[in-house]
């Protein structure tokens, strides 16, 4: 048999793929190919000195889908619960570029709580959902959290969140808070909550060759300074400098190739930047394209040995899609806020993730709460809900820029089998691939939870002195129940010990294919109540460490923290 081109081929360069590429190539000495559908927005990536960026404070470029999923060439079909029909368009788009979803995200990087991994044993079964415990203990994650925080560069304040699990100091101190977040802090304290600096993958000081953030306020367009720790400018850069990594940007994987028996993958087929079909062979395959794109690729990779899709003997590939049930309010103040100045989120509270003393039987676990929020003028002025004929009445006073802030809860949603990713039978993308067809409806528990916390969030804003809170009380049911703003893609290749009820084993390896692994949010059995990227990165590190040294995974983590 011919020697494979690479030891490992990784599909997707986002949070999971980037970390896995670093561990395998730098620490494991493996020859790794990193296949990324999008462009490389870092023109000097791999240069030992220069650190370029094509990102800037440019709303137009962001609106034109630069380095992002463009719905014209990559549409999705999704169920619209309000219209009660499938529609075609833009949903759950993430960065399509080197760094993937870690490029345009806020950088919010909290760790999970122990409770997040024990949803079933802590809170019991939920009718209509398949709630389970994770096939690992929280303590197993801790060394990977520590190392990923060092690699990526996380700012925060040790001990500031009383509900966080015990931990050591953050690699960087917390940066300055923004006014949009500060305005809620005293009110939250007065109501008995515990606001603290949001752990964030943004440099507060010069760190590992990257500058400190200057708080320009354009996090969601990609960082112009490389102060945000995308996997592109951290792990992937380090791996390119090390020399074992081959970056294949603008290459779209279209199929995972298998031996005829189906028990082992041989590589991937892809469409390269010129449109030519190529095959990359490898001894191991990692799928890290996100929890919509990875099951899509697995379903596309059906073969005579995997008739329902790669590793889909259980029929669960694509099922249990979770987004987090996030819901937010907007608060207007008499005093100046200027929410666009500063990082997206600088303060948070975790009080709604733990049952308070004296809470009744009707208590439901909520989620991590982001205090603050921002929007730039073009995005606000052109929002679909803004009528053009009253545009200047809103824009000239500058209400949203000068006087507005927001509160958003990132709450756990239920793993429901019917919420799923399939292949659309008709609609194709620019590569000729069937697009994902997404069906997602909130579980009744998610709606009860939203009802439970809507007024608590509103109380914080009111206590802070907001003169207006939108939506008004009671929160409009459409907004509360249907609007899904979160892009936390989770659950569609859930891990577990039983091949009949899960797709991956506890290390992220497909039950049915011995050398294919998943390193994105798809492996999460439940969605937890916190922003997922840091945990996704820790899980990817853990999977890659297991690939290198099964049974002795933590020995892969270098002792020399200057590495």
């Amino acid at each position: 048999m011919a020697t494979p081109d690479f030891d490992v081929v990784i599909i997707g360069s986002g949070p999971g793929g980037g970390v896995a590429a670093y561990v395998l190539s730098v620490l494991g000495g493996k020859k790794v190919a990193l296949v990324e559908k999008g462009r490389n927005p870092y023109p000097t990536l791999g240069d030992p000195v220069l650190r370029g960026s094509l990102f800037g404070n440019d709303e137009i470029k962001r609106r034109r889908y630069f380095a992002f999923q463009d719905p014209v060439i990559e549409p999705r079909v999704f169920w619209d619960p309000k219209a009660q029909k499938y529609v075609k368009g833009e949903v759950q788009g993430l960065g399509v570029c080197v760094g993937g979803g870690s490029v345009q995200y806020d950088g919010n990087s909290p760790r999970l709580q122990r409770l997040d991994l024990t949803a079933k044993s802590s809170f019991g079964d939920v009718a209509g959902a398949d709630v389970v415990d994770w096939p690992m203990d929280y303590d197993e994650l801790v060394p990977y959290y520590d190392e990923v925080e060092r690699l990526i560069g996380i700012q925060g304040q040790q001990g500031a969140d009383p509900f966080a699990e015990p931990r050591g100091p953050y690699p960087m101190p917390a940066g300055y808070p923004s006014r949009a977040d500060l305005i809620f802090v005293d009110a939250a304290k007065k109501l008995g909550y515990h606001p603290h600096p949001m752990p964030t993958a943004v440099n507060s000081v010069f760190y590992r060759g990257r500058p400190a953030c200057v708080n320009c306020g354009f996090c969601d367009g990609g960082c112009a300074l490389n102060a945000k720790g995308s996997t592109g400018v951290t792990c992937i850069r380090d791996a390119l400098l090390h020399g074992n990594l081959t970056l294949m940007d603008q290459c779209c994987a279209t199929q995972v190739l298998c031996e005829p028996s189906g028990g082992k993958a041989t590589g991937v087929q892809l469409i390269d930047r010129d449109g030519a079909v190529q095959t990359v062979t490898a001894s191991q395959v990692i799928l890290a394209a996100n929890a919509i794109e990875t099951p899509r690729l697995m379903l596309e990779s059906a073969s005579s040995a995997h008739t329902k899709g790669l590793g889909n003997g259980s029929g669960l590939v694509g099922r249990y899609l979770m987004y987090h049930k996030d819901f937010s309010l907007i608060a207007l103040f008499d005093s100046e806020i200027r929410s666009y100045r500063g990082r997206c989120i600088t303060k948070a509270i975790a009080d709604f993730t733990v049952k308070p003393a004296g809470a009744g039987a009707d208590w439901l676990r909520g989620g991590y709460v982001e205090l603050g929020g921002q929007i730039q003028p073009v995005a606000f002025g052109a929002e679909p809900d803004q009528p053009w004929f009253t545009h200047k009445d809103i824009m000239i006073p500058g209400i949203q820029r000068r006087f507005m802030s927001a509160i958003c809860m990132i709450a756990e949603d239920m793993p429901v089998k019917a919420n799923r990713v399939e292949l659309d039978p008709d609609v194709k993308d620019v590569y000729g691939r069937p697009v994902p067809r997404i069906t997602y409806n909130l579980h009744p528990r998610d709606k009860r939870m939203a009802d439970f916390y809507a007024e608590k969030l509103r109380a914080i804003a009111t206590e802070a002195g907001a003169n207006t809170v939108m939506p008004p009380t009671p929160l409009d049911a459409n907004q509360r129940y249907f609007d899904i703003e979160s892009k936390h893609l989770l659950g569609t290749t859930r891990m577990g010990t039983d091949a009949a009820t899960s797709v991956c084993d506890p290390w992220g390896r497909l039950h049915e294919v011995e050398n294919v692994w998943v390193c994105d949010g798809g492996t999460w059995p439940t969605s937890a109540a916190f922003n997922p990227v840091l945990t996704q990165q820790a899980l990817a590190y853990r999977t890659a460490a297991h690939m290198l040294k099964p049974g002795d995974e933590t020995s892969v983590i270098p002792n020399d923290t200057n590495a």
Binding site: G56, P177, S178, G398, R402
Partner: protein, 287 residues
Amino acid sequence: MAWDLDHQKVSRRHFLLDATGWLLAVPAAGFVAACTKARGSGDLAGDLPGEVPVADVPDVPQSDPGSDVPVTQPRTLSPARFLALSALVDALIPDDGTPGAAAAVAADYVDGMLGAFASGVPRIFAGGPYSGRHGGLDGFSTFVPLTRVEELAWRIRIEGTKGVAERQFARLDVGGIFDAVGELPGFLAKYETGLDDLDAQAVAQGYANFADMPVADRRALLQSGDASMDVRMAFEHAVEGTYGDPVYGGNRDLVGWKAIDYEGDRQPVGYTARQMSNPEALGPEGL
């Protein structure tokens, strides 16, 4: 204007001067009044905006010293359609006491987008990371070459699917589960037919063309739903052309940002801790 937060006195003085200038200079009647005035007084060589001899037309749109509103030459649309487009964006974001899309020359933004592929490097994605307005080199002006699929995306957006084989996946009716049918129309065709219809409707109401209508009547026509113009599309483009970065055309002299008291791009200086978190430091006067 020196929009530099680190040079407080200069910045503040210039801001006040500029603010006074807007109040004195910007006519309530907006773009069309300015055009009419210019035409009537013979300030320009020909009818606005397209009949100036080509040799006299600069690459970069310039202000007309004889009127209160900058005048721009179209690069893509015909002069008549560009006039209608200018009247359209003026109606959508009028200069009604504060500068709007006409002062920002948002029509130039739209016209530039429609002709993006006329440039060697299509003018879709400005470069990075800085504009140069706050230090550093101007990277914005060096547009980013498109990848193969990005070019296809933007050709579909601007030109439509038009029966081209490699664009057929983006037709409206692919899948058969959607309401719309047929080829996906591009921005260019939508503007051309929509602007022609606006002119036709204006003529039917007794005006010379759409730009000849008072702004209130233009707004009423757009609100009536009688026009075939995709008003939402045009409005979003007008917003982009008024408050987006000026490297794309539009937001002339940062007039859109000044109008809404917004600093715009801030790299590489960003905001200091005091500017972020201290209400006493908020607002241009406090910086």
